[in-house]
């Protein structure tokens, strides 16, 4: 029976730049259809890309394309490993052109590159139409400026793009799982009605899409859950049979671990109702899934069940959301906690005095503040020591950049106007994007495959 091998090179924009190298090396040793996927497109990332495209029409694809692909493109092409990634972001066509330019720089000949478009609703719908759709999650759009609006494409367009013979497929917004399910549909010939197979393929994609989160990373808790050689953690590889049964493993000689525990943590990651995980391809039921260690760093996953997908597609709308202003300062040594608390109270009083109207959060890091709420309603569980090291943080969100700067500056001024020993101020003012999810009719979304020739 023919197996499909899918390796993952990145689980988010900013993932370890050379993680794919051992994955490609391992895939090169295998026979059969092999793919390398990169998932780099969080909800907000697309808004940033869309802004970039507006300023520079040839950009707006993932800036990580030039980080990740030059390291592997030649080896992938030489060994017949095909690449599927959402590095297309706001401009899959631009990304495809950039890949062809890279191929020329690297003297790779005969590379076929495909772009999948159609997810960008600002192209296919009017803003007014987008605003009319009911919001199922996130903030009200009101009169805020829409920066990006993208439907989640499914795996079908990716399978179609691979059917053209493309070696590299650049997509924008799809479900993360589609990056794996697309290749599986293409090779195994799975159809829309093969619901349990599509369900297994979606599980495969879900397990791979966060990179090493399934192979020992985002997992270690020293003394409780130990993982060897995290600094060179192996990114995952899935082996998938025609019937959908799959094994998660990692390249030989790498760090990390693939165990029942690492796989189960990732299986439920960002899942709500495990009996009804909605995707454009299938509604996934994890209720009967079994996870079994079948060898060292080899874990089998089976039993996913599928139900027909919903009639609508989810889309994410990104809107301008003003500014986040932050400032931080540290206190250390004897009585540090009291000095930090005094600093926090000074910042609160100053924000009131200068008339900051937006809610300001002032907290003392080192007191389990990350678990607390804006109203500081939680008592830390672990007793705080009077000395040690504490960091005061103030944060505000405002439609006005000036307000964000003012709150941050109140922390800066503690250097000379706050408690003794204040040190290490950092300030951060950043533009914010908020998102809302809407459901749209599938008929409004038309995916297109565009081949980009060598330049």
């Amino acid at each position: 029976m023919s197996k499909v091998y899918i390796g993952c090179g990145a689980g988010f924009a900013g993932d370890r730049f050379d993680a794919a190298v051992p994955v490609v090396k391992a895939l090169a040793e295998l026979k059969g259809e092999r793919f390398l996927i990169y998932e780099v497109l969080a909800e907000r990332t697309l808004a940033i890309a869309q802004r970039l495209k507006r300023e520079h029409p040839d950009q707006g694809y993932s800036p990580f394309l030039d980080t990740y692909l030059p390291l592997v493109l030649a080896d992938c092409h030489r060994h017949g490993i095909r690449i599927v990634t959402n590095m297309g972001a706001a401009n899959p066509l631009g990304a495809a052109r950039r890949v062809q330019a890279l191929a020329r720089e690297l003297r790779i000949h005969g590379l076929k590159v495909a772009a999948v478009t159609g997810d960008d609703l600002l192209v296919s719908m009017s803003e007014a139409d987008i605003r009319r759709e009911p919001i199922i999650e996130g903030i009200a759009l009101d009169d805020r400026t829409i920066v990006a609006a993208n439907a989640y494409l499914g795996a079908g367009p990716i399978a179609d793009a691979l059917a053209t013979g493309a070696h590299v497929v650049l997509v924008g917004r799809t479900t993360d799982a589609a990056l794996s399910l697309g290749p599986l549909m293409h090779v195994h010939g799975w159809q829309a009605g093969d619901l349990d197979r599509l369900a297994q393929g979606t599980v495969c994609g879900h397990l791979l899409e966060c990179g090493a989160q399934v192979s020992g990373a985002y997992f270690p808790d020293p003394g409780f859950k130990d993982v060897p050689d995290l600094d060179r953690v192996g990114f995952p590889i899935a082996e998938v049979d025609e019937d959908g049964s799959l094994i998660i493993t990692k390249p030989p000689g790498t760090g990390g671990v693939v165990s029942r525990a690492t796989v189960i943590e990732q299986l439920l990651y960002e899942v709500h109702d495990p009996h009804s995980y909605l995707t454009p391809d299938v509604v996934l039921d994890l209720g009967e899934v079994e996870v079994e260690e079948v060898g060292p760093n080899r874990v089998g996953v089976k039993g996913a069940r599928g139900k027909p997908p919903p009639a609508t597609l989810k889309a994410t709308v990104c809107v301008d959301a003003g500014w986040l202003g932050e400032g931080e300062i540290s206190y250390a040594g004897p009585n540090a906690l009291a000095r930090a608390q005094l600093a926090a109270s000074v910042v609160r009083a100053r924000c009131r005095a200068i008339g900051i109207g937006d809610p300001v959060r002032v907290e003392v890091l080192g007191t389990e503040a990350i678990f607390d709420s804006n109203s500081a309603a939680r008592r830390p569980r672990i007793a705080q020591s009077a000395g040690g090291e504490y960091r005061v943080r103030a944060a505000v969100r405002s439609t006005k950049r000036k307000v964000a700067q003012q709150v941050s500056d109140e922390v800066l001024s503690l250097y000379c106007s706050g408690p003794a020993g204040g040190a290490g101020v950092r300030q951060h003012i950043s533009p914010q994007v908020s998102t809302a999810s809407i459901l749209i009719d599938r008929a409004r979304v038309h995916a297109q495959i565009i081949m980009v020739e060598a330049s």
């Binding site: 903030i139 525990a261 899942v271 109702d273 495990p274 990350i370 709420s373 569980r381």
Partner: protein, 124 residues
């Protein structure tokens, strides 16, 4: 049966994820035989209480006995989440450890892995 009271952290591991203002936290026992007892003790009500200070409004618990694991879905747990939270952790990624640390369970010592630091504390 002799039971010891320990943080959930002694007998289970967890991972948190987010969608909007909703958090999901999986709770996975180190030992499958601990599952039934955790189901009895780690209830929706207790998890909601852990998130009360953040204004959480409801908790739904899903059971996956074949893994075994539980999945908690906590509504309005993230003070608006990445869209509007003023905290450092808009995604609520650290909240798995809030659950593991704030909820205690009464379990036989055998449910704690042999090499766990909690075992050493208990035998000292």
């Amino acid at each position: 049966m002799n039971l010891v009271e320990v943080p959930l952290h002694a007998v289970a591991h967890a991972r948190a994820g987010d969608k909007g203002n909703r958090s999901n936290i999986s709770v996975i026992p180190y030992k499958a035989e601990a599952f039934a007892m955790l189901v009895e003790q780690v209830t929706e009500e207790r998890v909601l209480a852990v998130f009360a200070h953040k204004g959480a409004t409801s908790v739904r618990r899903y059971l996956l006995p074949r893994l075994p694991a539980m999945n908690f879905v906590i509504d309005n747990a993230l003070e608006g989440g990445v869209n509007s939270s003023l905290g450092l952790d808009g995604h609520g990624k650290a909240l798995s450890f809030l659950v593991l640390g704030d909820i205690t369970v009464k379990v036989p010592v055998d449910f704690i892995p042999v090499n766990s630091p909690y075992r050493k504390q208990l035998t000292r």
